[in-house]
């Protein structure tokens, strides 16, 4: 038996990839305490990080530059923030935008004046600029115009902004891209991957977002003081906590999951191992039960405060609210005092909707930090594995049959199964999705049609002799090299494959986006179509001013309702 069907030593059976890696379930993902933002907050707290605003050169209109610095794991980093005038008609969250309200770089070390001048000339250009390995992350953001103006006006009038308005939007700015890993000349991931505090995936990016949030708080206070120096109020810490950072995310995020199967596997494997550890617990301690109840209350408040215009998602949220009430009722009967309480609860909850099931995963993990937080260290990978050239075609065939049975069943003769095609536009290399029968460009289709590729490989493999080796097969069929590599890798990284047809009519890219964003730690998914969404990061998270003293874990599925309670 493998670890997916049985494992001893404190691990219950893990959920199978065929259950977990379906778009429908991925599209119901929730952040957990292993999400990257949560991991970062714990690390910053443990390191007692102190954030210093080292430079603030800002006009009365709020245009200028600022620098925030901190030391993490023995390295000093600086957020360089540049605030610009942006005519309203040029404000768009699309990747194809060329101007933004603010642009940012996370800098390695403390920038000199020359560095700042160089960054000042390049960072506002974003993709059109050129960068060096001293820059670790590049980002930009646009104001949430109505809320931003309201907050400035309220503070300038000497009082706090309307709490309901803060809650309704949840952020002062939303980022429209957060670039790392060598983009446009910035540092490769490999250059920082061994640094304490940045070992885990996307930590530098999350650090950047968290610092941007502090900048947005400072900017509204600055503008209020500029408007009314004698009367302006400071934004209260309570209200700052309400204000996270928004993010608008489109299709650009989706191909990453397909092109990084080993990394995707590492993330999901960590979460599923955490769940298996908890499910294996023979008893729940009073503290664990209390922690669970508090987390469930918080999740329910979160669901109650989560409202979106998208009708499909809103129906799911309403179902989630009802299901969480049902789950709460289940746990109110003393069932958590019995043997294997978490296993029993998760089993009982399998009757509820996918949103509730995945939300429950997050809630169940919450009171078990001591048992599972170490798994965060596994949420990274090195180089992808090289193909195994010594494997026989018989063994390769067996791998396909075992790991891709779902793919072999798809009838690609049916137009619905090839309805869509992924491509990269010449517009800023933006990934897009087209309708095959209606749009040009299918001949340049991006290779995200994994199921179809595997079927083609299956046919080729069965044209050869079973005892033939992959090395010889690939000499005859170099066009199969990438998919052979993938199939072999997935045998060892089974959570790395999305088990749905990504070019079929039924594929909703929004499911991919939510899955990835949940691993980042995003909440308040607000789909604007089936291809892009707004989300909120850092809402409820500790502030730069209290990270050393605040509980870094008390903001799971944060909601203003539970905060008020």
């Amino acid at each position: 038996m493998d670890e997916f069907s049985e494992a001893g030593g404190g691990l219950a059976p893990m959920r199978m990839p065929a259950q977990v890696m379906r778009l429908s379930r991925m599209g119901a993902s929730f952040p957990t305490r292993l999400s990257f933002l949560r991991v970062l907050m714990r690390r910053l707290h443990t390191d007692q990080v102190v954030v210093t605003r080292r430079l603030w050169e800002m006009s009365d209109e709020g245009y200028g530059r600022a620098v925030y610095t901190l030391t993490l794991g023995g390295h000093t980093y600086a957020l360089v923030a540049l605030s610009h005038h942006l005519p309203p008609e040029e404000r768009t969250d699309r990747v194809i935008a060329e101007k933004w309200d603010a642009t940012f770089a996370l800098f390695d070390g403390i920038p000199t004046h020359d560095d700042l001048d160089r960054l000042g000339a390049n960072v506002p250009l974003q993709e059109a600029g050129r960068f060096t390995s001293r820059e670790l992350v590049l980002s930009r953001a646009n104001r949430s115009v109505r809320l931003f103006a309201h907050v400035v006006d309220a503070l300038a009038a000497g009082h706090q902004p309307d709490r309901e308005k803060l809650i309704e939007t949840g952020y002062l700015m939303r980022t429209t891209a957060v670039y790392g890993n060598g983009k446009f000349g910035i540092a490769d991931r490999s250059e920082i991957a061994a640094r304490p505090g940045l070992e885990i995936a996307f930590q530098a990016e999350m650090l950047t977002v968290w610092l941007i949030r502090a900048f947005t708080h400072d900017l509204v206070e600055h503008l209020a003081v500029a408007q009314a120096p004698d009367r302006a109020a400071r934004l209260s810490d309570e209200n700052k906590r309400i204000l996270g950072i928004g993010n608008a995310t489109g299709l650009g995020m989706a191909p990453f999951l397909v092109t990084h199967p080993e990394l995707t596997h590492a993330w999901v494997h960590a979460r599923e191992t955490a769940l298996a550890r908890v499910r294996a617990l023979p008893r729940a301690t009073p503290a664990q039960r209390a922690g669970f109840a508090a987390a469930l209350d918080q999740a329910m408040a979160h669901a109650d405060s989560w409202s979106v215009e998208d009708q499909i998602q809103m129906v799911r949220i309403q179902e989630l609210r009802g299901d969480l009430l049902g789950i709460q009722a289940l746990t109110g009967t003393g069932s958590l005092s019995g043997p294997k309480p978490w296993e029993g609860l998760l089993l009982a909850a399998s009757a509820y909707g996918l949103e509730a099931q995945e939300c429950l995963v997050s809630v169940v993990l919450e009171p078990h930090g001591g048992l599972i937080d170490d798994l965060a260290r596994t949420m990274q990978t090195g180089l992808p594995p090289r193909l195994d050239p010594s494997m026989t075609l018989a063994d390769l065939s067996r791998l396909i049959r075992e790991a891709y049975d779902w793919a072999l069943k798809i009838d690609f003769e049916r137009p619905d199964e090839t309805h869509q095609f992924w491509y990269v536009s010449e517009d800023k290399s933006e990934p897009r999705l087209g309708i095959r029968a209606q749009e040009p460009g299918a001949e340049l289709e991006s290779p995200l049609d994994i199921a179809r590729q595997v079927q083609e490989l299956w046919r080729r493999v069965h044209e050869g002799q079973p005892e033939d080796r992959v090395a010889a097969f690939l000499m005859r069929h170099p066009e199969e090299r990438h998919v052979v590599t993938r199939v072999q890798s997935i045998a060892h990284h089974p959570y790395g494959e999305i088990r749905d047809n990504l070019i079929g009519r039924a594929c909703r890219p929004i499911d991919l986006l939510r899955f990835k964003l949940a691993f980042f730690g995003a909440t308040r998914f607000d789909p604007k179509s089936d291809r892009w969404t707004r989300i909120t990061l850092c809402q409820g998270a500790p502030l730069t001013t209290d990270i050393a003293t605040a509980n870094p874990d008390d903001w799971a599925l944060w909601s203003p309702i539970s905060e008020a309670a």
């Binding site: 890993n181 983009k183 000349g185 180089l383 090289r386 087209g434 749009e439 090395a471 000499m475 066009e479």
Partner: protein, 205 residues
């Protein structure tokens, strides 16, 4: 220009290979090989671009004596991965007769060594040893030798030396960009409006 990152080199050269009509797997190998060679202070971009002049047709390997494989005449971009497959499968050393420069085989071997932790030894037309992805000393070229031999060496661990970034030749980098652009779909009003799903109302609040 400022020097590109290794990730940019891998991406651009892989896309350039695809733009030149190479199969995805070989293109990805070539991109990673270019980045690896650049990480060792070599001209990864130039070497990869030079290789893209060849057609990536299938190759054959033959054994005149057991355990002594021969490939070629064939281009390095196709013969290199095939030879590495044979060597890493434990099939024995491979002799390659190449239609182009052997440097790409070194680059491919370097990345394969980094992936597998194996030691790979090149001799003949180019002499070099790569251990766990680290190049031991400077490669030596012998243009008069028309055969490049590839074999497994003794395992070892060497910490790769970090080389400063090196900017590729501007014209070569631009040529690679032009090839890579062949994988991009021209923008249309429809794709701009609907392809990314945002429509026109994405920044209004």
């Amino acid at each position: 220009m400022t020097a590109p990152s290794l990730n940019e080199i891998a991406k651009r050269m892989s896309d350039a290979a695809r733009g030149a009509g190479w199969p995805l797997g070989l293109a990805q190998d070539l991109g990673q090989a270019a980045a690896w060679l650049s990480s060792q202070g070599g001209d990864g971009v130039g070497v990869a671009m030079a290789a893209l002049g060849a057609k990536p047709d299938p190759v054959e390997a033959r054994q005149d004596t057991p355990g002594d494989w021969q490939i070629g005449l064939a281009p390095a971009g196709v013969a290199g991965p095939a030879a590495l497959d044979l060597v890493l499968a434990g099939e024995g050393p491979v002799s390659l007769a190449l239609t182009d420069a052997p440097d790409l085989v070194l680059a491919l071997a370097g990345y394969a060594s980094a992936q597998t932790g194996q030691t790979l030894v090149l001799s003949g037309a180019l002499t070099a040893t790569v251990t766990s992805g680290a190049l031991e000393g400077a490669p030596h070229r012998a243009p008069e030798d028309k055969i490049l031999r590839l074999s497994l060496g003794a395992p070892g661990v060497i910490k790769p030396a970090v080389q400063p970034r090196r900017a590729p030749d501007d014209a070569t980098w631009a040529q690679a960009g032009a090839l890579a652009a062949k994988t991009l779909v021209p923008a249309t009003a429809q794709s701009r409006a609907f392809g990314a799903g945002a429509g026109a109302v994405d920044g209004d609040d």
